[in-house]
């Protein structure tokens, strides 16, 4: 019994899942209809649906961020700005006409994603090849990205009026779940398969744990790190496309604003070390959902948007403390003391 308990608590995803459950339980008490799901026009509505819907972009960004953190022990803080660049490219390509896109929809999307990949390549070049600290290297696009986005949109908010543009960010007709959920799930699945079916997952971990040892056994650590940044750029692009579709426009100043912080937080909440090495994609996705659940539940409790960060900060502090090594040490020292005392008594 004790052993099983230890096995469960020792499981890497134990704490992230507990954190998520805690947030949801709290909601059940405070907002009774939190778990209520209604059907309207063949699609599902409710707080829960809203959470997984809104968490999609964050989960997508968290997937890219997880790999970047694992390989380079650093974070890509440009993901929000890169999303804005992608959104701008897509909106600029498709154009504001109500009836027709300027070019095929797919071409527009692919151009946008290409922009994201190029941004990722730039970051990867700086980090892997020039060995600039990830935070500093990605700071460049963090600041410049929105400028580039403005430049593409000529300082305007470009609206894409054609109705089908909204599909990516809302519902496909007759499908009960929102589209972003499918995109995020598909991306997670593909990423997981690639990591599983090639040796890439192990390489990323090896490079993150011990770069020098990795080099000596023939792993091209520069290439591996470069690739994770490119992939993170691609993820930012996909997230940018969804965000833009939600508002059917590109608002260079506001798309994905501050989302890089949530993405990093999602990785950390997922039980991943920001020091690189071992990682869990699923953990990061759970982390992303936890963050969104928190945001949504605070809204459900009528916390206003300007006060939201305070409550969020408090909860995050609690969750992060629960997962910290010091806290675990403290807990295990408590556990360790008990049997000693028992012995002394007997």
């Amino acid at each position: 019994m004790k052993k099983t308990l230890k096995k469960i608590t020792g499981f890497q995803l134990f704490l992230p899942i507990v954190a998520l459950i805690l947030v949801l339980l709290f909601n059940m008490i405070k907002t009774p209809d939190f778990f209520k799901i209604t059907v309207l026009n063949g699609t599902l509505y409710g707080f829960m649906i809203d959470i997984i819907n809104r968490a999609s972009e964050l989960a997508i960004l968290a997937i890219g961020m997880t790999l970047v953190v694992a390989s380079s022990a650093g974070t890509d803080i440009s993901v929000g700005a890169v999303s804005a660049v992608t959104a701008a490219i897509i909106c600029f390509s498709l154009g504001p006409d109500q009836q027709n896109y300027q070019m095929p929809y797919l071409v527009g999307i692919l151009l946008g994603l290409l922009g994201g990949v190029l941004c990722g390549m730039w970051n990867g070049l700086l980090v892997a090849k020039m060995r600039i600290q990830p935070m500093v290297a990605t700071l460049i696009l963090f600041t410049a990205g929105r400028g580039i986005s403005q430049l593409i949109c000529s300082g305007q908010i470009i609206h894409v009026e054609k109705e089908s543009y909204r599909i990516l960010g809302s519902f496909i007709p007759k499908v009960p779940l929102p589209t972003p959920v499918f995109v995020a799930a598909a991306l997670a699945l593909v990423t997981w398969l690639v990591l599983k079916k090639t040796a890439l997952g192990m390489y990323i971990q090896a490079v993150g744990i011990n770069r020098r040892a990795g080099r000596l056994i023939g792993i091209n650590s520069q290439l591996i790190i470069f690739m994770t940044y490119v992939y993170c750029g691609l993820c930012s692009g996909i997230a940018g496309a969804i965000m833009s579709s939600r508002i059917a426009a590109c608002d260079a100043n506001n798309i994905g604003l501050n989302i890089e912080l949530d993405a990093i937080l999602a990785v950390a909440l997922g039980g991943n070390s920001l020091g690189g090495g071992k990682f869990s994609l699923l953990g990061s996705i759970i982390g992303a959902i936890t963050i969104q659940a928190l945001t949504t539940s605070l809204y459900a409790m009528h916390v206003t948007a300007d006060q939201l960060p305070i409550y969020k900060a408090i909860v995050v502090v609690i969750i992060v403390t629960l997962q910290s090594a010091e806290f675990r040490k403290w807990i295990s020292s408590l556990q360790g003391k008990r049997p000693v005392k028992a012995k002394a008594a007997s």
């Binding site: 090639t198 040796a199 192990m202 971990q205 744990i209 056994i217 792993i219």
Partner: protein
């Protein structure tokens, strides 16, 4: 040398006579009965050390001998646990609690890595923390003038004291550190590996300055791995080994061979002479060399060298720490990309830019630093074993789960690795078993040429013997093995030819007949070899 093996007249116990009586000679510093232990290790055990004014005193010993601990105790980096430190200018025992305090007490250290502020000017660096003031403001003119004066006394008038320090070479930066030490009137200067990052001329310059200081009566403690330099500049040598004092002697009275013997000690451990069993002498050095390096070199770590290795032979690299043993191996393997010379594998010229190129030529390299360069500690035992083979095959051709497990299990059995679960992180294993995991990693790639850099360091005796046996067996099967070890006994038992290195240079080779303790030590020490042979 005959008969003098165990009794060395060169090491006298003269200082025991005047313990506690400092003024009898010109003793600057006396450290008596110094002991210091860290959890699980006795770093210093009852060590005595005496420094006289106007002498350059070399402190010698291999890694872990206790040199740095002794210095750290002296300069207050580590707390003094037991013993007494006295300096001639204070009439009470000295205990420093920090390097700053030591500096105030007249003891300064010049480190290998210069610990100044590169973005401040030369003058600022000399006067930082004690800037000359005029009406509450820094008197820049006085500061610069004084700096110039000090540097001139060190024959460094070409240095512009207002330029930031980073403009100058490491050598000049060290000189600036010295200038600072002189100006605060240090009576004792400690040079901790000052020459390891210097070019030859810069070293000469440093020695000039050391001699100047010596003439002024400063006592200098000189720590280095370079034997040549010890004999070039030092007056007296103290040798430590395993935290204990081996002895003290005037440099001119201590032949190099003796010094090396004292540093390495004579560890006759209980290991049986494994090798001699299958002693049908095979001359390997015939036919086509497997590895043929011609003037291969890497600037700053190893001077160009040439060597051949033949299938089925075990070649040892002998030399003290810092002699370039590991660096030679790293250059062949491409861990340090060679910047001169050519490498032929099976008479085919190859270009090695990175370790992966060497692996494709069927080389393997077990690095000296298991923790930093070998083990990937959070990955499982299984992953740590098959990862090298996987890397050589390429990312897109992953080994199947079954292959991975079979491979790992095969070598775990072969090497008798004690592991409960092949999926548990490798960091949970003991040092010896971790080392075997890295061995398994390389064996699974089936190399033709395997470099083992200190494969038995920090490993229990039983495992040591196992690894030595394995090396001989592998060689019998036709693998060429390069074996690096600090333990001469182990090398003699294992290798069939020995390459000797000194001061980052290959200086010779010893055949099997020439490989005796005395011979090897003479070769490592250099200089007096001919005399010894005679």
């Amino acid at each position: 040398m005959a008969g003098g093996k165990d009794h060395l007249p060169f090491f006298s116990n003269e200082f025991e006579n005047h313990f506690g009586n400092l003024n009898m000679s010109n003793e600057l510093l006396t450290m008596r009965h110094i002991s210091k232990s860290f959890p699980g290790v006795v770093a210093l055990n009852n060590v005595d050390f005496t420094l006289r004014s106007g002498e350059i005193h070399a402190l010698m010993g291999e890694n872990g001998a206790g040199k740095s601990t002794l210095i750290k105790v002296l300069t207050g980096v580590e707390e003094l646990e037991e013993g007494e430190i006295r300096v001639s200018w204070l009439d009470h025992p000295l205990i420093n609690h920090s390097p700053q305090e030591a500096q105030l007490n007249g003891i300064s250290t010049v480190y290998q890595e210069v610990n100044l502020c590169p973005n401040l000017s030369v003058a600022e660096n000399i006067f930082i923390g004690r800037e000359p003031k005029k009406r509450g403001m820094i008197d820049w003119k006085a500061m610069n003038d004084n700096s110039r004066k000090i540097l001139r006394s060190l024959n460094l008038s070409q240095v512009d004291v207002t330029k930031s320090l980073e403009h100058y070479s490491i050598a000049i930066q060290q000189m600036v550190a010295i200038a600072r030490a002189i100006d605060i009137e240090s009576k004792i200067l400690i040079f901790d590996e000052p020459t390891s990052s210097l070019e030859e001329q810069e070293t000469e310059k440093l020695f000039q300055i050391m001699n100047q200081l010596k003439e002024k009566g400063v006592g200098i403690i000189f720590i280095t791995h370079f034997l040549e330099q010890v004999y070039e500049v030092s007056d007296r040598i103290t040798v430590l080994r395993n935290g204990e004092l081996v002895g003290e002697s005037l440099t001119k009275d201590l032949p190099r061979v003796q010094l090396v013997a004292k540093m390495l000690g004579k560890e006759f451990n209980d290991l049986a002479a494994i090798k001699k069993e299958t002693k049908e002498k095979v001359n390997h050095t015939k036919g086509v060399p497997l590895i043929d390096a011609r003037n291969l070199g890497h600037r700053g770590t190893i001077k160009p060298f040439s060597l051949q290795m033949y299938p089925g032979e075990v070649v040892g690299l002998a030399g003290l720490l810092g002699s370039g043993r590991s660096e030679l191996a790293r250059t062949i393997y491409g861990a340090d990309k060679p910047d001169s010379g050519e490498l032929f594998v099976n008479t085919k010229k190859v270009k090695i830019n990175a370790p992966i190129d060497a692996m494709k030529e069927r080389m393997g390299y077990l690095p000296e630093d298991r923790k930093e360069e070998g083990i990937i500690n959070d990955l499982s035992v299984k992953e740590n074993i098959f990862i090298a083979l996987q890397a050589r095959q390429g990312m897109l051709k992953p080994l199947s789960n079954k292959e991975q497990t079979q491979l790992a299990e095969k070598y775990i059995k072969l090497l008798n690795i004690k592991v409960a679960n092949i999926d548990s992180p490798v960091k949970q294993l003991s040092g010896g078993n971790q080392q075997k995991v890295i061995l398994a990693r390389w064996l699974s790639t089936q190399p033709d040429f395997l470099i083992l850099d200190e494969p038995t360091r920090g490993i229990d005796v039983g495992t040591k013997t196992e690894i030595q046996k394995l090396v001989l067996n592998l060689a019998e099967e036709g693998m060429a093995i390069m074996f690096i070890s600090s333990e001469i006994d182990e090398m003699i038992r294992t290798v069939s030819r020995m390459i000797v290195l000194r001061d980052r240079e290959k200086v010779g080779e010893l055949s099997e007949e020439e490989m005796t303790q005395d011979h090897i030590m003479a070769a490592i020490a250099g200089g007096e070899r001919d005399e010894e042979d005679a």
